[in-house]
Symmetry: C2
Subunit: 333 residues, 2 copies
């Protein structure tokens, strides 16, 4: 686990979008975000306090999280100065960048000499077991998508937030680097060795109280030729009681696969449910989550209504409409 | 690729079964097996020439293959003496053991100083790409099982052998350590990082002549809670034109999962075909391969006949009945 709360490092972000990891932390776990640290020229702003390393430490910040994409695939010398100062000031560092902190000899040496931790959340840090398929107590929901990057993480976080608001017992279980940085822990599933994927998901979602919900972050798609194996491990390791279908209606083809059309929501429903029932015969599809960011308000409403009528499932864009109806459906299980 | 032909090291095998990797090489690629090397007390015998290291080198052997399981999970000092002598005599070493040759400092150092290779075939040695899902020329067949270890590798090797006998163009494509040692190359799929599994299978089965068959070794099962993600990557990365269903009728439960009954052949047929058609809409299920090793001749014949009538597919035990009818079905595609 990454120690919280965080100081969010925005570096010299060229625009707001470059800081989307930090934005996700601030949006979904504001209690984890003591403040932001921006370098000269930074064009991103989370609208939270600008704090020096020392001030953030005084307010309890434990970890400096790199909440921004880096340019050109290198950790720049200008960043390095700040990262070294942060280690000196008592921070651990956490990053989801492709270039690893632990591959920077100066940072590694300094962190070791000071007893600080470097968290590269793209890299598994646990020896996961082989999955055993045993039925676990507690409830689990998983979003399964027609494609990658259709809003599965957002859906999960929104469901989790709504459950917390209602006083339900809920834990968001991240399976990708952004989710891991948001909550401080999880499994970077796409980097786990094949034999241990489903076991990593079992490890991530252990037995729990009967009325507790694990909201497992979805990845990939059972219909995505590159990543379907990862999705399969989530379905079988996650042992979901409930599936939420996720879709982005304006996508012209599968992400990264120009020759592949997206499957229908019915395709995903049927295949995912059949596979989920291998490990949990009671699994149900409870709703659909539509990412309507590229649609007008009217088109979004019409699309959701059409899907709802077609599938007979509550259908919302949790960003526009909230996740209440999805949580109603889960709570009714 | 591992350099062939081999000298097969049987060590101090306590029984014939312990040498099953060597047996597989001798059975399926006898041209790769120049001879066997047995230590005092060895209880296994492949019925091929016992050769010294020097004699085997003189007959052209390039690699000493550890064709035997080791006891207690260690590479013993007695083995080490032979392995070091082999390196000195000009051999590369190849092993599918869990303990890696490269983790033995003395072997590693000696191999490096002599310019020999240590092949640990459980460990990927290639940076595999992300799968691109592009349609590849040539034909591919994959065995999909109701469970792990039901005879998928055997089925593939038997189909490959029958195709070669008929003069058809065929390549067996190993995805596990035994298959890799038998042919000298392949992908240890269960050890590949999740994101690259399907890409590794694409890499393993590149575009080929239109009338060439890749016989892709199956792994796991879409219905096995621990390993289904690996199987999924084979289905999507393999882009099969044909599926063969594999089953072992006396298995009381899924291997390693006492709470799970085996799926029916119909279940496997329907789910595997639906998923395969995502990447190859023309994919067909062409036959069933039944592992009847624990059944009498009569029971085996009756079982195959019953499955054949039920599924309307040629159904054989390739060990008892040969793979001719499976190859007939593939050739008719």
């Amino acid at each position: 686990m990454i120690r919280t709360p965080y100081l969010l490092f925005l570096g010299d972000a060229p625009d707001q979008l470059a800081a989307k990891v930090a934005q996700g932390i601030k949006d979904w776990r504001p209690e984890n975000a003591v403040g932001q640290l921006r370098m000269p020229g930074c064009k991103a702003d989370l609208g939270i306090a600008d704090l020096s390393l020392q001030d953030a430490r005084a307010k309890g910040a434990q970890t400096l999280v790199i909440g921004v994409a880096n340019r050109g695939g290198v950790i720049s010398d200008a960043w390095k100065v700040v990262l070294r100062e942060a280690l000196e000031a008592g921070f651990d560092l956490a990053s989801g960048l492709h270039n690893l902190l632990m591959d920077e000899p100066d940072l590694k040496e300094l962190a070791e000499s000071l007893g600080r931790k470097l968290h590269d959340v793209r890299v598994p840090s646990v020896d996961y077991p082989i999955a055993n398929g045993k039925k676990r107590s507690g409830k689990r929901v998983l979003a399964v998508g027609t494609d990658c990057s259709v809003g599965k993480m957002y859906t999960g976080l929104a469901v989790d937030a709504e459950m917390r608001k209602r006083g339900m017992k809920s834990t968001f279980r991240p399976t990708g680097q952004t989710g891991i940085l948001i909550t401080g822990g999880g499994v970077p599933l796409d980097a786990v060795v094949a034999d241990f994927m489903a076991g990593a998901v079992e490890w991530l979602t252990p037995p729990n109280e009967d009325d507790h919900w694990d909201i497992i972050e979805g990845q990939g798609s059972l219909f995505h030729a590159s990543y379907s194996g990862v999705t399969m491990a989530l379905v079988h390791g996650g042992q979901p009681d409930a599936l939420i279908l996720s879709h982005e209606p304006t996508r012209p083809h599968m992400r990264g696969l120009p020759d592949y059309a997206l499957p229908s929501l019915e395709d995903v429903r049927d295949v995912a449910l059949r596979l989920a029932q291998v490990v949990n015969p009671d699994c149900k599809v409870v709703g659909a989550s539509i990412n309507t960011q590229h649609m007008t308000e009217e088109a979004a409403a019409a699309y959701c209504a059409e899907v709802e009528a077609r599938l007979g499932l509550p259908t919302v864009d949790p960003f526009r409409h909230g996740a209440q109806r999805l949580v109603d459906a889960l709570d009714a299980l």
